[in-house]
């Protein structure tokens, strides 16, 4: 795998902030870049380890085939749900204009 030499750059912060929908002030970008670079440098120690033939652990458990029967259960009361909505209209959640299709 590629050796990781780059630390967390300013561009990286801008990229992940956009992906994660976090609006950052310009000053914040530099601050986070410095902090994240320092953290990444520390944890990047793992990237150099030899893990040939070591399988990844996705779950600590060895469960498989956990299923549920196709039987209808209770639903939530819509009023209780919409009471928590920042903005609701006609029984639906209202949001500002959506500019594009889903990616």
């Amino acid at each position: 795998m590629p050796a990781v030499t780059e630390s967390f750059s300013r561009d990286d912060v801008v990229y992940v902030a956009r992906l994660a929908r976090l609006d950052l002030e310009p000053g914040e970008v530099d601050l986070y870049a410095a902090q994240l670079a320092s953290i990444l440098d520390h944890v990047a120690a793992v990237t150099g380890l030899d893990t040939t033939d070591v399988p990844p652990t996705a779950h600590p458990l060895e469960l498989e085939n956990v299923l549920r029967p196709d039987t209808p259960g209770s639903t939530l009361d819509r009023d209780e749900v919409l009471a928590q909505a920042p903005l609701a209209e006609a029984g639906r959640f209202r949001v500002p204009p959506i500019l594009g299709e889903a990616p």
Binding site: V16, D23, Y32, L40, H42, V46, T57, V66, E80, P86
Partner: protein, 495 residues
């Protein structure tokens, strides 16, 4: 120490026994707890929400059951505090974040239903680091919680509010969550018992997720026996959680005092290298206690465990970055408007999340991103296997392991707040357990210049029985001054 009213028993088991026997009314117990909370909350800020009316109503319900001859449950009338990342229907649940300020869940977490069904009386929701990310409770959007042993110091985190509430005698029981040590570390810093169960033993349904493959809900109490009793109530299979273990769980309380004769105990030497002298001394002394009680004690090196911190700070933020995406201002919680949905999402999340949460979201997004996934996240998952193998090898030779819980005693509020990495190191000894999905418990053992030091007992998956027995023995040999509940200290401790 005494409660605000006479005749209120101390501790969960004693309280439940007395309530069940009709010797004391649950209402009295609840009133005493609420009064004590009122006395000390201003200083400590253990709670984000105190549910006084609901608590009294619940206590009345317990009393009615007792009067009618119905079984009121094993925790009848025992006041309990719940970490504010556990969903409680109709009760504000914030996860310590502005983004959920004022949010009312329309459902209860499974563990909440379990403790209520057991007769416990919920008195409120405790403070935490925002979305359970932190080791000091300083990352709460609603202000820090103060350590009852020294108000200038942190209680630990992320379950600082729960730990402090038990330490200050506000409640005998509390629930927290532990992803990298967030029950055990504050337990150690606050001089109470706190444990993390085997992954999958306690349902996560209703626990606001931080890192799904690491999170577990765990009990806080002043004594090992009380903590065991709470674990026995919340453990068990839940069909609403696909990662919930279906195997039969053997309750730990009945066999708690069977001792440790012949138990093979390994002292993790790697953990002693960088811990403070008082923490190291406590571990060695606790090991001696076990030895004198009949255990076979040896040192063991498990170097793979030291890889845990790095792997954790790749895996946990990665999962968190995904778990926290849902906080987008659309369906619940904070919304800061924008010209379009994307703008609204961005402004909402910027305003709603604190800096530590943002850091972890960004770090997590980065390690999952195209081109970096294999080197970081994929690699971290493989290191996780190495940690698990390290433990597995050790557990061929030992039944339980011991080590420090925290590298230090409680530090001053603000001391580590500007250095994220320094804060992360608080979890060095607790993280490996979460990576492996094993149980571990912190037992208050000694004092170092007036501040509590806890000792950690670790066990393999579903090894809670042996783990608790060892903890009970350590507790018997511990300094009784080193544990809560205490009267909260009004002034900072001069060191």
């Amino acid at each position: 120490m005494s409660g605000a009213a006479r005749d209120i028993p101390v501790g969960a088991l004693a309280t439940a026994r007395a309530v069940r026997a009709g010797e004391v009314r649950a209402r009295q117990v609840a009133e005493a707890a609420l009064a004590r909370i009122e006395t000390f909350e201003g200083e400590l800020h253990c709670f984000n929400t105190v549910t006084a009316d609901a608590a009294l109503a619940a206590a009345d319900g317990v009393d009615a059951a007792v009067a009618a001859g119905r079984d009121p449950g094993p925790l009848a009338g025992v006041p309990i505090a719940l970490k504010d990342n556990l969903c409680t229907r109709g009760v504000v649940t914030t996860a310590g974040s502005r983004i959920l300020e004022g949010w009312l869940p329309p459902y209860d977490a499974t563990v909440v239903r379990s403790v209520v069904a057991a007769g416990a009386v919920v008195v409120g929701k405790t403070n935490l680091d925002e979305f359970a990310m932190g080791s000091s409770t300083e990352n709460s959007a609603f202000g820090p919680t103060r350590n009852p042993w020294d108000p200038g110091r942190v209680p630990g985190g992320s379950s600082g509010g729960s730990a402090a509430a038990v330490a200050a005698g506000l409640v005998p029981l509390a629930l927290g969550s532990d992803t990298g040590g967030s029950v055990r570390q504050p337990a150690s810093l606050c001089g109470v018992v706190g444990m993390k169960p085997t992954y999958g033993l306690v349902s996560r349904y209703g626990l606001i997720a931080f890192a799904s493959s690491l999170d577990q809900i765990g009990p806080f109490a002043a004594t090992v026996a009380d903590a065991a009793a709470l674990l026995d109530v919340i453990a068990g299979h839940d069909p609403a959680d696909s990662t919930s273990l279906a195997v039969g769980f053997e309750p730990v309380s009945p066999r708690l005092d069977e001792g440790v004769a012949g138990l093979r105990v390994g002292v993790i030497s790697d953990f002693l290298a960088d811990a403070s002298p008082s923490c190291v001394a406590a571990v060695r002394a606790a090991a001696d206690v076990l030895g004198r009680a009949g255990a076979v004690v040896e040192e063991v090196a498990i170097p793979a465990l030291m890889l845990g911190l790095s792997a954790y700070y790749l895996v946990a933020p990665a999962e968190a970055s995904s778990n926290l995406a849902r906080y987008d201002g659309v369906r619940y919680g904070l919304r800061v408007d924008g010209p379009d949905v994307t703008g609204m999402n961005g402004r909402t999340r910027s305003a709603g999340f604190g800096p530590e949460v943002k850091r972890r979201i960004m770090l997590g997004t980065y390690v999952l991103s195209a081109g970096y996934y294999d080197a970081y996240y994929g690699q971290a998952q493989r290191v996780r296997t190495l940690v698990a193998r390290g433990f597995a090898d050790a557990y061929e030779r030992f039944d339980v392991l011991v080590g420090p819980t925290s590298p230090t005693v409680a530090f001053e509020i603000g001391a580590k707040a500007t250095d994220p990495l320094a804060m992360y190191l608080s979890d060095l000894y607790t993280i490996p357990t979460n990576l492996a999905g094993h149980p571990a418990v912190s037992v208050p053992f000694s004092l170092s210049e007036g501040l509590p030091v806890g000792v950690q007992v670790l066990a393999p998956a579903l090894g809670e029985g042996a783990m608790f027995r060892a903890a009970a023995v350590i507790e018997r040999g511990a300094d009784p001054q080193a544990r809560g509940p205490i009267e909260p200290r009004a002034t900072k401790v001069a060191r």
